[in-house]
Amino acid sequence: MTAPRFLASSALRLAAVFAVIFALGGALMFTAFYWSVASYANASIRDDLRTETRILLSDGGAENPAILARRVASRIQAADALKYLVLDAEGRVLAGGLAARPTVAGFSEITAPAPPDGRETSDELATIEVLVTQLPRGSLVVGKSTYAIHELREWMGLLTIWGVIGMTVLAAIGGLASGAVLARRLDRVNAATARIMQGHLSDRMPPIGLGTEFETLRQNLNRMLDRLEASMEAIRHVSSDIAHDLRTPLNRLRHRLEHARANLTTVEAFQATVDLSLTELDQTLDIFAALLRIAQIEAGAGRSGFGPIDAGQMMQRVFEAYQPVAEQAGHVLEFRTETGAIITGDEDLLVQMVSNLVENAIVHSPAPAHIGLGARIEDDRVILAVRDNGPGIPSADLSKVTQRFYRLDHSRGSPGSGLGLALVAAIAALHDARLSLQSGEPGLVASIGFERATTESLVA
């Protein structure tokens, strides 16, 4: 096995843990088994003795020692498993024979030599369980060898020891084997991790097997990798965006300053160049700030500031802010809302999002245009919408306009960074809201669907 050392040792640890658990469990189980079988055997011997005594003493056996002696004599011939002793009042043996003469009434255990019939070695002692019954004219002793019980106990003791040893060994082997399997599976995961670290970012974890928990782990790891890959892709994208779209204006600025240094002679001309340069620098800085903001929002910043918002009131704020702007540009701005359109989010960001859409409509629509904004409730959703009857966006471009720096051909000449809708999309995504851009025939309908929150959350 080429597994790294920690995996090999983890297999070993697993085996040791299994072995200990099974050894303890096995010992406990076998001991309980041992005790219950032994006590059952003992109880069954006493049962036999009680029954035998009852049969012997019935029908005059108890009162007449002669009858009892006769019965015992016939029993001895019939069943040699039991041993008997019948004594008269003076203690003389009337029938049967035992090595000892127990006198205490009730059950007791006596030790007797092994039966002399050659079945056992002569020096081996056997214990006999006896039941002594005092009679009016003598006493009766019925006994049974417990040799078989001792045999059973001995045998079960051995079984217990070997059973525990066997189970422990099997558990250790099982632990080692499953540890090795786990190690081999994790080996594959480690190999995949190493590949990903080497830069194969689109590689994913192989199936681990071994059940649903590991499959869930694999899926989670892969989802994490998806997110990371997307983030890195986004960063790479932003980097190239910055390289392209920020260097261009900076380069222009540099040319202008070079030109001023080389050719301008009057203070007025210099001032004009400086003013122009400042304006351009500000625009470049704005782009930079917008990019940072989008990146921050995409990274999930701002979720901590989420709270309940009355979308209608929020849209009204935007409406009141932009109504004079629209009017000055020769447009008509209209506002409509429903009450109870409560959503959860960051009001600062949402105001910026809606403002972006309204500003787009104001800037890109030729006057006089009708621009409408509002909030409406659809089932359990709240839809914020901004619509205009301007030129709209060609359907081929609708899916691309939310990309950073994507600009429609006809708007390239007008001011704007190409980041507005990217910011709108980022803010919507932060709120798990669905942004949809549709052709309004004519114009554009931008709507953002939020999950509707309860009115109570606004009070709380």
Partner: protein, 225 residues
């Protein structure tokens, strides 16, 4: 006014110091959090200008320490990060205003002056006035001379902010921030559009203008006549 500037970049600090001095203020400059806190606790400054990121600690911790020492000196934060949570953090630690780098110097000057002039007694007056313009804050009504001005709530709010800072320059960014609660830079001339409506009601019918445009900076309201 006496100002404290906590800024670690020597060139920026010198540029800002020179600008503020030319505007008639005295400026103490500190480059580290320790020096900044030391100066802030020792000197009687009218406004503290605190960079968020300085060697030896966060500008936030300096302001917290100043507040903990019982000083209520107005604070304006300068920061390179302009996220929503950063702004909230700034206010929570005891900041009064917040400016994101890069900023125009005129913006900083206007905000510093607005903070320094702020005095609780002015804030509590029930009626504010500039020239013959009177604002009744309780009734939310405005008059010029004997003529009552018909203002929307939004217009009243804008006028109130101007009048509270009469004689000072208020920038568009300040107005967006304080009047509209917009913490971003609109692409359209939002402030100018509202201002021209306001002027049409406050100034145009009366012959004498109170609201003036300050080129390259913002607006101011005063009785220059």
């Amino acid at each position: 006014m006496k100002l404290l500037l906590l800024e670690d970049d020597a060139e920026t600090a010198e540029f800002v110091r020179r600008g503020l001095t030319e505007a008639g203020h005295t400026v103490d400059v500190a480059a580290t959090a320790d020096d900044g806190l030391h100066l802030a606790l020792e000197g009687a400054h009218d406004v503290l200008i605190i960079d968020r990121m300085v060697p030896g600690g966060d500008g936030l911790s300096v302001v917290r320490a100043v507040r903990d020492a019982g000083k209520a000196t107005p604070v304006i934060f300068l920061t390179a990060v302009g996220g929503v949570s950063d702004r909230v953090e700034g206010f929570e630690s005891g900041g009064d205003d917040y400016l994101v780098k890069p900023y125009a110097f005129s913006e900083l000057l206007a905000r510093v002056q607005a903070l320094g002039r702020r005095s609780p007694s002015i804030d509590l007056r029930p009626v504010l006035d500039v020239g013959d313009l009177q604002l009744d804050l309780a009734a939310r009504s405005a008059r010029r001379g004997l003529t009552r001005l018909d203002l929307t709530p939004q217009e009243f709010k804008l006028l109130e902010f101007l009048v509270r800072h009469s004689g000072q320059v208020v920038t568009r960014a300040m107005l967006l921030d304080k009047v509209w609660g917009f913490h971003f830079d609109p692409k359209t001339n939002l402030v100018d559009a509202h201002m021209s409506r306001l002027r049409a009601k406050v100034d145009r019918p009366f012959g004498q203008d109170l609201i003036h445009t300050v080129r390259g900076a913002g607006y101011t309201i005063d009785d220059r006549a």
